[in-house]
């Protein structure tokens, strides 16, 4: 075992008795201890509870349990409520919030015997594309510490890329799993909306938020995804299904892809004159695997970013009203009135980007603007969704770049919010349509990893994972590590 062993490799090691879960967990904790100061991936490290959970897993294994996930260390994005553990969402507002209950994702992982070593850093309330909006400070990209890891799941992405954990949970509202996965050279899956329960996941934009795995390869993504996913009666928007392939995947890994696919290339994603040579290489590799590439059109792509910002900000503006300093979280000193308590607690507790989005959402929902913004955006959302449905009548999956740029320098975009928002250009359309998409490492630009995105019809995660696993079986982009020469 080394620091870049995959979850599957660790599972095999545990099974063979090469090491115990306690030893494995301690090794993870040691690496985190060593590397976290430079990277700032973790907000909270749970050494004691992790070792206790690992000991319990060892005990279960000794008594004959064979679950492949039993005793595997991983990390949670600090957006999932974990009972008895600090849960901050990267915000000063919740910097003292110890969650009194577990998110469904948290209990699912625990029930599978997986060992959470800590909670990873993130953009405040998942709002950001660089992890610079965290109250707990920015995260460094393991490939270049001067650069951002992407966001909002930047802590999870950096921790996986740096070999601190083999897998971490993330959440994706407009690209928050896929973009940092691309910028850190790892694999990240945003599942179909409704596939993974949102219960206990601190809400940013309810109609878009979806949790998913961040790992080094598709096999591990499939393993974690199969544990995270499932119908949850506590979430009204949870899809009532449990596909048989999920359990088969936990037991046996991803089933081999048994047919050539037709892969669509949406022309709108390739119209930019940026250097897309890394995607050209990926196209060649996919063709070599026997797949057919065809051009398709998603005509409303251009409107996706503005539509996304209208809907996400509107939903966020009211989702964040509960942070009022009354029942939990930050309260200002010596409030003079209820009004003063609200206004100062919220002013002090929220960071600049969060406030901008609250104000944007308040504006677009205000009397007189609802039709022009929110309703209009929902109509375009339907057009965007229909674009995809149309494309999927002709192709099995779509291929697109994940992010328009590789990891950029810290502070480079912090003053240009609109430019920062354009980081989401290639990821928000799928979020609006609720579709599953996976980002895979597929090349480099200037020594920095780049990702490509595969997009499937709703509930088509298996196909994405199969194609990704096949691709990773024939290429080694996902095996490149920070410090390697690109």
């Amino acid at each position: 075992m080394n620091e870049f062993s995959s979850l599957r490799e660790m599972s095999a090691g545990l099974d063979r008795g090469d090491f115990s879960s306690v030893e494995l967990t301690q090794a993870h904790l040691d690496r985190i201890q060593q590397a976290n100061a430079a990277l700032n991936c973790f907000i909270t490290i749970n050494a004691d509870s992790a070792l206790a959970a690992a000991a319990q897993a060892d005990d279960q294994r000794a008594r004959g349990s064979k679950s492949p996930t039993l005793g595997l260390p991983f990390a949670h994005k600090d957006i999932f409520c974990t009972q008895g553990v600090l849960t901050t969402a990267g915000s000063k507002m919740l910097s003292n919030f110890v969650a009194p209950y577990d998110a469904t994702v948290v209990s699912n992982m625990a029930a599978a015997g997986m060992v959470s070593v800590g909670k990873t850093n993130m953009d405040e309330f998942a709002m950001g594309s660089s992890n610079e909006n965290s109250f707990f400070g920015p995260v460094s990209n393991p490939w270049d510490h001067e650069r951002v890891p992407g966001g909002s799941s930047g802590g999870s992405a950096a921790a996986v890329a740096a070999g601190l954990v083999a897998g971490a949970t993330g959440t994706d509202t407009g690209g928050s799993i896929r973009q940092p996965a691309a910028l850190c050279g790892i694999t990240g899956l945003k599942p179909t909306y409704g596939r993974v329960s949102r219960y206990g996941m601190i809400a940013f934009a309810s109609s878009l938020d979806q949790a998913g795995p961040m790992t080094r390869d598709a096999e591990d993504a499939a393993l974690m995804f199969s544990v995270m996913a499932g119908f949850d009666p506590k979430d009204s928007t949870s899809a009532e299904r449990r596909d048989a392939w999920l359990d088969a995947t936990i037991a046996n890994g991803i089933a081999a892809l048994d047919r050539p696919l037709t892969i669509g290339l949406p022309s709108e994603y390739f119209s930019d004159n940026s250097n897309l040579s890394y995607i050209d290489i990926a196209k060649t590799e996919l063709q070599r695997l026997g797949h057919k590439l065809v051009e398709v059109s998603l005509p409303h792509t251009q409107a996706a970013v503005p539509v996304y910002y209208v809907l996400a900000s509107a939903e966020a503006s009211t989702n964040l009203s509960r942070y009022d300093g009354v029942r939990f979280g930050h309260r200002c000193n010596d409030p003079q009135s209820l009004q003063d308590l609200y206004e100062r607690s919220r002013e002090e507790g929220f960071g600049e980007e969060v406030k901008r989005r609250i104000l944007t959402g308040t504006y677009t929902l205000s009397v007189g603007y609802f039709d022009a913004y929110y309703l209009k955006a929902q109509k375009i959302r339907r057009l965007i969704s229909e674009d995809f449905q149309q494309a999927f009548t002709k192709v099995d999956v779509l291929l697109a770049p994940t992010s328009p740029t590789p990891a950029f320098k810290k502070n480079q975009l912090t003053d240009d919010h609109v430019a920062m928002y354009q980081q989401d250009l290639y990821t928000v359309p799928t979020s609006l349509a609720g579709l599953p998409a996976i980002s895979l490492p597929c090349g480099f630009c200037d020594g920095l990893p780049m990702g490509m995105q595969l997009i499937a019809p709703a509930f088509g995660e298996e196909l994405l994972l199969q194609l990704a696993a096949q691709y990773q079986g024939q290429t080694d982009w996902h095996l490149r590590r920070p410090g390697d020469s690109a």
Binding site: A99, Y101, I202, A203, D235, S317, R327, Y342
Partner: protein, 477 residues
């Protein structure tokens, strides 16, 4: 100038579900502070609402009871405002598409004629918590137990013109929601509260004047008083050349006045939008039909049946039909074969007096409708006189469920004496003992008939059949 008031009410009805509208916490009244506020009610980070099916069914039940359209597809919206007892900073409500559309209800104001009041809509929403202002100096204490209790907000048309009509409407809604079993109707515990929209205009003018809204009135009497005060206040303002400001006012029953509510002035831009945590509510035809078939016969229909088919007086019919327990008791008496008028008389007379005297409700009465029906049957077949029937009623009350009408008549010796021979013997003896009185009777002094009947009753301890006694004496003349 003559003024006319225009009044519309928004009534909030707490639905009698076991659990809350969006969480599994109990709705029971009276728990210690915040002991019934779960993580969802508290609006903790990450929690999500899941709609209670019973609340939906109750809303549909109400809609069908007022003959309203049930919207097959309706949406839950967020109504955004900040308040200490509103944990999420928004209330989940329904804005553009309520469950229940337009309907009507008939009211009968005291000393007035029945009239129809339009109901604009009724929608589902969650209740807020309670702020207690007088418990700790300088502080407001917040109890969120009530948070998330399902509410049906029933919005009337501005169809009422007097405070009495408004109060009658409030009462009628109270009757109806208890009737159809969707609310316990307990006003003291806040199970029903209403907001009144009040404006005045010169009589004959068709446009409405500017209105004010009086919040949170929780008794029939206060509705009347608050509106009366507010109407008078508005007329005063207008007659002294002032203008009515659109505002929210609070009724203070101690001072019997309304005053402007400062705390509600800040935000009137609620930024309604569809709650993305909840999918649209779809109500199937099957569900509507199931609920329809399960509805009791409604007060209006019963009132009509009791007066026109059964011949009850208006006042008895109203008194019985307006209360589901009374109406069901009455119908059970009829089902057991009792005469309608007699049943109504006994219910509104003796039964009601005993219930009052013993402070029990009709649902707890020891005299089941079948027993009352048997008692009435024994009057009809002349076994009982009205006097012995009352004795029997008292005995039945004491005996309770074990009471047996015929056994008690037997053991208490209550049957009327109807034996011709025995009665003739008694009458002959009385005539012999009172020749002077008999002569007077014979001479046409009809009053003396009463004397003889009275003597017979005395001699038989009230058990003689008075008609029969009359007949025998007349035959002697």
């Amino acid at each position: 100038m003559n003024w006319e008031a225009v009044i519309g009410l928004e009534i909030h009805v707490q639905l009698a579900t076991k659990s809350k509208i969006f969480s599994g916490a109990s709705t029971a009244y009276g728990a210690s502070p915040n002991a019934q506020a779960c993580n969802i009610d508290l609006g903790l980070p990450g929690v999500l609402p899941v709609l209670n099916e019973k609340a939906v069914e109750m809303a549909v039940r109400f809609g069908l009871a007022i003959g309203a359209q049930i919207n097959r597809y309706s949406i839950f919206d967020r109504k955004n405002y900040f308040y200490a007892d509103l944990p999420k900073g928004y209330q989940i409500s329904q804005f553009e598409t309520p469950v229940v559309g337009e309907g009507t209800i008939t009211i009968t104001p005291e000393n007035g004629k029945p009239r129809r009041v339009g109901i604009t809509r009724a929608h589902l929403e969650e209740d807020a918590g309670k702020s207690v202002h007088d418990l700790y100096p300088g502080m407001t204490a917040v109890d969120l137990n009530r948070t998330g209790t399902p509410l049906l907000e029933i919005v009337s048309e501005p169809d009422m013109r007097t405070a009495q009509e408004a109060s009658a409407y409030f009462r009628q809604i109270h009757t109806l929601v208890r009737y159809i079993g969707i609310c316990d109707g307990n006003l003291a515990e806040g199970s029903m509260r209403c907001d009144a929209n009040v404006s005045v205009r010169p009589t004959g003018q068709s446009e409405f004047g500017e209105r004010t809204e009086i919040k949170n009135i929780n008794s029939f009497r206060f509705v009347e008083q608050a509106i009366e005060y507010e109407v008078a206040r508005q007329i005063d303002v207008l007659e002294s050349g002032g203008r009515i400001e659109r505002e929210t006012r609070l009724y203070d029953p101690d001072k019997d006045e309304t005053r402007s509510m400062r705390s509600k002035e800040l935000s009137n831009d609620y930024r309604y939008f569809p709650d993305p945590d909840l999918l649209p509510l779809s109500i199937s035809e099957e569900l509507i039909e199931r609920i329809r078939s399960d509805l009791p016969e409604l007060p209006d229909a019963r009132q009509e049946r009791y007066t026109s088919t059964l011949g009850l007086t208006d006042s008895d019919a109203t008194a019985i039909s307006n209360d589901i327990d009374r109406a069901n008791y009455f119908d059970a008496c009829l089902a057991a074969g009792a005469d309608p008028k007699q049943s109504a008389n006994w219910m509104m007379g003796e039964l009601s007096a005993y219930l009052n005297k013993h402070d029990v409700t009709l649902s707890e009465t020891p005299i089941a409708p079948e027993l009352l029906a048997q008692l009435i049957a024994r009057i009809d077949d002349d076994t009982l006189s009205s006097k012995t029937a009352k004795t029997l009623f008292d005995a039945l009350w004491t005996a309770g469920a074990s009471g047996n009408v015929d056994a008690l008549i037997e053991s208490l010796n209550l049957a009327q004496l109807s034996d011709d021979g025995a009665l003739t013997q008694i009458i002959d003896d009385l005539i012999a003992a009172n020749p002077k009185q008999f002569d007077e009777l014979r001479g046409g002094k009809d009053k003396m008939l009463g004397f003889f009947v009275g003597q017979v009753m005395k001699a038989t301890q009230g058990k003689a059949n008075p008609q029969q006694v009359n007949q025998i004496i007349r035959d002697k003349l």
